[in-house]
Amino acid sequence: MSATHAPTEGQVPVETKLEWLVRMHEIRFFEEECQRLFTDGSVRGSTHLCQGQEATAVGGCAALEPGDTMTCTYRGHGAVLAKGAPLDRTFGEIMGKANGLCGGKGGSMHLTDVSVGAYGSFAIIGAHLPIAVGLALGERYTDSDRVSLCYFGDGATNIGAFHEALNMASVFKLPVVFFCENNLYGEYSPLANTTPITDLADRADSYNMAKAIIDGNDVDVVFEATREAVRRGRAGEGPTLIEAKTYRHKGHSRTDPAKYRPEGELEEWLKRDPIVLLEAKLAEAGVEQGQLDALKDDAEQRVVAALDTAKSWPDPDLSTRLHHVFA
C-alpha cells in the first residue's frame, strides 16, 4: 500500500479523489475492526479511534511527497495508514504479532513505519512536536527541501512542548507543518472548559507563524491547506499552523462511551461525515453510485483480508523483548 500522493499544484483529478475515498473507507473499516478486537478482548491495552477524522489523515498525507516525514499521536491509526503503512502489518502491530510494524513492541499507540515516512505515533501529549521540529532541522542541515508534517490534537495546544516547538520552528524558519486536529474534546472535557480561545490556530500569531483554520471534514479543503503549507515549507518560508475543525465519532478511548456530549451533537456531525461529504462531491462530479459502492465493498474486503493475514502471524519470539534497547 502506498500513500495517495496528489499533484503539487493545480486541480486534483477525480481519479486521485477516488483513491482518497478508498483510503478513507479503509481507515474507517480498519477502525471498526479495531473496535471489535478490543471489545471482544482479543487485543490488549487501550485504543483511540479516529472514525470521523479520516479527511485530516488522508488529505494531509496526500500533500506530502516521498522523503517527507509524518509524525502523529496515539490516535494515529488513520494517519499511519494514510501515509502508506500496510493494513496487515498495522493490524499485526495492534495485535502484538511478530510481523507487526514494530515487531509487537509498540502497539496501538506507537504505530511507526519509517519505510513509508511514518516516523512515529507518540502517546505523551505534545511530546512529538519538538521531534517534528528536529526532523525538519535535520532536513535543513542536509540542504534537503523535505518537510515535516506533525499531527496533534487540540489538547496539545495547552502543553508546554507545543509552545517550545512552535517558537523554535518559527525562529529557525523550519519546514514544519503543525497540523492540529481539533475534535473539540480534550479527553472528556469540551474545549471551552480548558481553553480560553475557540480558534486554536490563533496561537500561531504569537510565533509570527502562518496559520489556516479549515473544515477538517472536507478532504479537498484539508489537502489544499496542507499543500500550501508544504509549499511554504519547501520554499523556505517557514512553518505553518493548520487547525482543522473535526469530530471523533467515538469516545476518547476504548472505555469511554462519550456520554458527556450534548444530545444531538454527534448526529449533526454525522451529517458532515467526511466520507459522506466526499462521496456526494464525487457523485456530483459524475461518478456513478455503483462505482462508489464497489470501491467501498473492495475496501472492506481488503481490510477483512488484512486482518485475517495478521491473525495468522505468530506472536513475537520471546528473545526479541531484549532487542533494540541499544543499537
Binding site: C102, T112, G120, I124, A161, F326, A327
Partner: protein, 334 residues
C-alpha cells in the same frame, strides 16, 4: 620487549579545555556532528565550554537556541533520526527536569518501541556537580534520575583526558548518551597527551592499586578518594581507588575483581543515597560476591536533603576527605 615505543608527549589541560578540544575535533572529523543549546554559539557557552567553536564552525553547526530544553531535546532526537549526530547542551543538569519527558519517554524509548526502526546517536551534555555555591536548583548530580531508564548511557568523567576521550566516544556512539560535566572540575588541570585517546564507554579506571579496601567514586569524589588513600597509606591501610567513568553501562567486572582481592567496598557518591548507582553497585556485589566480603559494604553518600547553599552546609552535605578516611577506618576495623 625489545621494541622501544617513545611515550607520547604529555602536557596539561583543564577539564574545560579538554571538552572544547573534543567538541572541536568531532566537529572537524564528522560533518554530521552539530551543537545546539542556550548560548553555546556566539557567547561561547554559559560556562565557556564551547568557546571558539562558533567562530571556527559557524552558526550552522553551533546553534544558539531559545531557552527551551524540551525543544532542544526534541530537535536533537528528530535530527538524529535523520542521520545526524546532534550534541545538545543542558546548561545545568538540574534543568533536565524541564525536559525529563523528552529524555526518559522519547529519547530512551523511541528505538525500542518502534522495533529498531530508528537510531538515536544523541549526546546531551549536562553541567552537574556540587561545591560551587549554586544552591539547590543549580548544583545537584542528576545522573541517578536516569538510572532506572533503560536505553540511556550515562557518562561521568573526572579528569581532562577522560573528559576528552569519553566525550568523543559519546558523540561517536550510536545510542543516546547523557554526558555529565562536573562544574567544580571545569578549571581542574591534569595530564593531557598531545594526541589524546578516545576512551570507550563502560570501562572503569583503576586509579590506584591497593589491597585492603576498594573505594569507588566518580568525578570530584574520585579525587577525594585519592587524597584519602594517600592519607591512609601513612597509617598502613592500602586503598584501591576505582573511577567507573560511566554509570551506565557500568563496569561491574572491574569492581568485583577488586572486591574479590580487598574484601571491602565503599562507594562514594556526591548525591543522596536512595535509588542510586552506588546503591546498585553494592546490591550487585552483595548478591554475587557475598562470600568475598570481610565487612559490610558501605555507601558513603550525601545527606538525604536538597543541596544547601551556605559554604559550611554545602561542604558538610557531601563526603569529604576526612569523612572518607573515617569510613575506611571503620570498614577496615569491622
Amino acid at each position: 620487549m625489545s621494541t622501544i615505543t617513545p611515550e607520547a608527549a604529555t602536557t596539561t589541560a583543564t577539564y574545560r579545555q579538554a571538552i572544547i578540544r573534543a567538541l572541536g575535533d568531532e566537529l572537524e572529523a564528522d560533518p554530521s556532528v552539530f551543537l545546539l543549546g542556550e548560548d553555546v554559539g556566539a557567547a561561547g557557552g554559559p560556562f565557556k565550554m564551547t568557546d571558539g567553536l562558533y567562530e571556527r564552525f559557524g552558526a550552522g553547526r553551533v546553534m544558539d537556541t531559545p531557552i527551551s530544553e524540551q525543544a532542544i531535546v526534541g530537535a536533537a532526537i528528530g535530527a538524529a533520526v535523520k542521520g545526524l549526530r546532534p550534541v545538545g547542551e543542558i546548561m545545568f543538569a538540574d534543568f533536565a527536569g524541564v525536559c525529563f519527558d523528552g529524555i526518559a519517554n522519547e529519547l530512551a524509548k523511541y528505538r525500542y518501541m518502534t522495533g529498531g526502526q530508528v537510531t538515536l546517536p544523541v549526546t546531551l551534555r549536562l553541567g552537574g556537580g556540587v561545591g560551587a555555591g549554586f544552591g539547590a536548583q543549580h548544583s545537584q548530580n542528576a545522573e541517578n534520575w536516569f538510572l532506572n531508564v533503560p536505553g540511556l548511557k550515562l557518562v561521568t568523567p573526572a579528569t581532562p583526558a577522560d573528559a576528552y576521550g569519553l566525550l568523543r566516544a559519546s558523540i561517536q556512539d550510536p545510542d543516546p548518551v547523557l554526558f555529565f560535566e562536573h562544574k567544580h572540575l571545569f578549571n581542574h588541570k591534569g595530564p593531557f597527551p598531545e594526541r589524546p585517546a578516545i576512551v570507550p564507554l563502560g570501562v572503569a579506571d583503576v586509579v590506584r592499586a591497593g589491597t585492603d579496601v576498594t573505594l569507588v567514586g566518580t568525578q570530584a569524589m574520585r579525587f577525594k578518594a585519592e587524597r584519602a588513600a594517600e592519607a591512609l597509606a601513612d597509617e598502613g591501610i592500602s586503598v584501591e581507588v576505582i573511577d567507573p567513568r560511566t554509570i551506565a553501562p557500568f563496569d561491574h567486572a572491574t569492581v568485583i575483581d577488586s572486591v574479590q582481592r580487598t574484601g571491602r567496598l565503599i562507594v562514594l557518591q556526591e548525591a543522596s543515597p536512595d535509588g542510586s548507582w552506588g546503591a546498585s553497585v553494592i546490591s550487585r556485589v552483595v548478591q554475587e560476591n557475598f562470600e568475598y566480603l570481610d565487612a559490610p559494604p558501605r555507601l558513603h553518600a550525601a545527606d538525604d536533603t536538597p543541596v544547601p547553599y551556605a559554604e559550611n552546609l554545602e561542604t558538610a552535605w557531601m563526603p569529604t576527605v576526612r569523612t572518607i578516611v573515617e569510613a575506611v577506618r571503620a570498614t577496615v576495623a569491622y
